[in-house]
């Protein structure tokens, strides 16, 4: 195949401009549809998957009773040691009253945490709401905890949610009293070292008045560190476990980590949040199938259209084809020329369709209503999908030329050349 042959095909196509333009346009429309549907659909799901996989912790350990997890510091250490675990964060939630230096108290939810572990099990969205270095004086909560003695020096630092800071009308640097009862004399004085924003609640409003304290200090405050008799309690409500980032998107791997945790704590309930991932994947498979089906209808219609155009072309070119056959141009050459013409049409249609689809998506992203624009801007162009589409079009060109080739090879020469 040399350049001049392509030139001849080009001249043939140009010779029938209207037909060529129509055929290319029909194929382009049929191609633009799957480009838009699959790119936008795939983009939306990729985005959803990414946000689920970025949820931070994906395994949760809970006890049936309030503050029912005992020996939390030690248990977290054990869970941390399991393969596939990135971080384990115990959480103790207690309702308290928070008093400014002078004035009346505000009821709030205080969460006892190990700062470094807590940060590690938050999603990136949540993490962005927290102060950059969430230390609370003792990042690993080991100083005051002191191997279960609770005898170490306490850091006496607290973080308050922004609404709480506003209601109490205080700024970081001042002190507040955190009391387990409505009586301010039962409280301990801690320094406010910062504030944090609240994530929008997925299932409804989240509590507005929240405070973060080191776990051991909260335990001591509410008597969950050691019992009055002196035995070690170290109680918490739950432990959130984050798996390694490389495993986060893999439900099977998360399930394996979850059962390892379960084996460690057979008496607590262990749940994994990867259900969501597999549900999203299942939904994606269904909707992708639907899109592919829908697009196949469009492509099938354009295939039939192409067959009709090519049949017409054989009719119009019957003299030319007859001449070529008469002077001995082999049938395979005549067939090849038809197939090449069909491929030129499908490929131009394909390229135009992909370009058109991309244009439509970027137009929607730019000028669509806010929702449409947001969805459109998530579009992902999978090279594999686009290549598969082009390969499908090559096949389509071949299929579309079968009947016309047959017709061309069976033209009755004496009649054609009368």
């Amino acid at each position: 195949m040399n350049a001049s042959r392509w030139l001849v095909h080009w001249r043939n196509l140009r010779h029938r401009t209207a037909q060529t333009v129509l055929a290319v346009a029909a194929i382009a429309v049929a191609v633009a549809l799957p480009v838009v549907l699959l790119s936008v659909g795939g983009g939306v799901y990729t985005h959803e998957l990414a946000s689920v996989q970025d949820a931070g912790f994906s395994i949760s350990v809970d006890a049936a009773a309030d503050h029912g997890i005992a020996g939390a510091h030690a248990l977290v250490h054990e869970i941390d040691g399991l393969a596939g675990v990135a971080a384990a964060s115990p959480i103790l939630s207690v309702a308290v009253e928070i008093f400014p230096e002078n004035g009346s108290g505000v009821p709030a939810l205080v969460e006892g945490i190990i700062p470094s572990a807590f940060t590690a099990t938050q999603s990136s969205a949540e993490r962005s709401l927290l102060p950059a270095s969430l230390t609370l004086g003792d990042p690993d909560d080991t100083i005051h905890y002191a191997n279960g003695t609770y005898d170490g020096p306490s850091s006496d630092q607290v973080l308050l949610s922004t609404p709480l800071l506003q209601t109490l009308n205080i700024t970081p640097g001042s002190s507040v009293l955190v009391s387990p009862t409505a009586n301010r004399s039962a409280g301990i004085s801690v320094t406010v070292v910062g504030g944090f924003g609240l994530p929008p609640g997925l299932l409804g409003p989240s509590p507005l008045f929240v405070a973060l304290l080191p776990l051991s200090q909260l335990q001591s405050l509410v008597g969950l560190g050691r019992s009055p008799g002196g035995s070690l309690l170290d109680d918490a409500d739950s432990i959130q476990v984050a798996v390694l980032p490389s495993l986060a998107g893999n439900p099977a791997a998360v399930a394996r980590v979850a059962s390892a945790v379960q084996a460690l704590v057979p008496y607590y309930s262990v749940t994994s949040l990867t259900q969501q991932t597999s549900e999203i994947r299942a939904a994606q498979a269904v909707i992708t199938g639907f899109y592919v089906g829908l697009s196949s209808v469009g492509l099938l219609v354009s295939l039939l259209f192409l067959v009709i155009i090519l049949m017409r072309r054989v009719e119009q070119e019957r003299t030319s084809i007859g001449i070529q056959r008469a002077i001995g141009v082999p049938g395979w050459r005549v067939s090849r020329d038809l197939v090449l013409e069909a491929e030129a049409l499908t490929l131009s249609g394909g390229v135009a369709g992909i370009a058109g689809g991309v244009l439509v998506i970027s137009a929607l992203a730019r000028w669509g209503s806010p929702t449409v624009s947001e969805i459109a801007s998530l579009a992902v162009y999978e090279p594999v999908t686009l290549l598969a589409l082009l390969a499908g079009l090559l096949l389509m060109g071949l299929l579309a030329s079968l009947l016309p080739v047959r017709r061309a090879l069976r033209l009755p020469l004496p009649e054609v050349l009368r």
Partner: protein, 232 residues
């Protein structure tokens, strides 16, 4: 030993079924030998079967009955592929309506039979140019058929027919659409080709002037050869 005939027809019939019971005997028992290097004219009234005969001799069509031998080989045993090959290598066609490919230049039209035979691009180009020069069209290589006069188109067609050095040149009313000056040019070229290549030539015509150039004259009527005379 006499040389093998280029084409031999034995009791050839070609019947067209147009309607239910209608059948047209376009050729009704024609036996004919065309020897290498002959120059033959075929005359006869319209509908007498001249074109039908030429199509059969040129392997564009197959007989309903009878035998055709192409250089000794029976045509009825050949497939479409073999007949295509023989048309490509052994036969040159010249049609009344020229039948150049409209999207190809004069040069590309002449090169087409060479391309079909797989001749390399450079040699194709050289030979096609030489052939166009031979028919007096040097300089018109890049013209498209619609940019040529009828006489020029037919000269391109002759160049194309000669491209593969055929043993047999078949021309159906080659001057039917040309004025007498142009017709004479075309006939001169045909005669020159006949002389120089030794190819057998069969010219179908209504025109006595055209027929007069041939050495052997067939006359057809109602699908039969009614006269076969030498001279001229």
């Amino acid at each position: 030993m006499t040389p093998e005939p280029t084409v031999l027809l034995e009791a050839v019939r070609r019947v067209y079924h147009s309607g239910e019971a209608d059948e047209v005997r376009a050729l009704d028992g024609v036996s004919l030998t065309i020897d290498p290097g002959e120059y033959l004219s075929v005359e006869g009234p319209s509908g007498s079967g001249k074109t039908t005969l030429l199509n059969l001799v040129g392997l564009l069509d197959v007989p309903t009955e009878g035998r055709i031998l192409w250089q000794g080989q029976p045509v009825e045993r050949m497939g479409e592929r073999d007949r295509t090959r023989l048309r490509r290598t052994g036969i040159g066609f010249i049609f009344q309506r020229f039948y150049l490919l409209p999207t190809l230049t004069a040069l590309e039209n002449v090169a087409l039979p060479l391309l079909a035979r797989g001749v390399a691009a450079r040699e194709r180009d050289t030979r096609a140019r030489a052939l166009l020069g031979q028919v007096g069209l040097a300089g018109r290589e890049q013209s498209f058929p619609h940019q040529l006069s009828g006489g020029e188109e037919q000269r391109v067609a002759i160049a194309r027919a000669l491209a593969n050095g055929p043993r047999l040149l078949l021309a159906d009313e080659p001057t039917g659409e040309l004025d007498s000056t142009r017709a004479a040019q075309v006939l001169d070229l045909l005669e020159a080709a006949h002389r120089e290549t030794g190819a057998a030539v069969v010219v179908v015509t209504h025109n006595p002037i055209v027929a007069a150039r041939a050495r052997r004259h067939l006359v057809m009527r109602d699908g039969r050869v009614v006269s076969d005379t030498a001279g001229g």
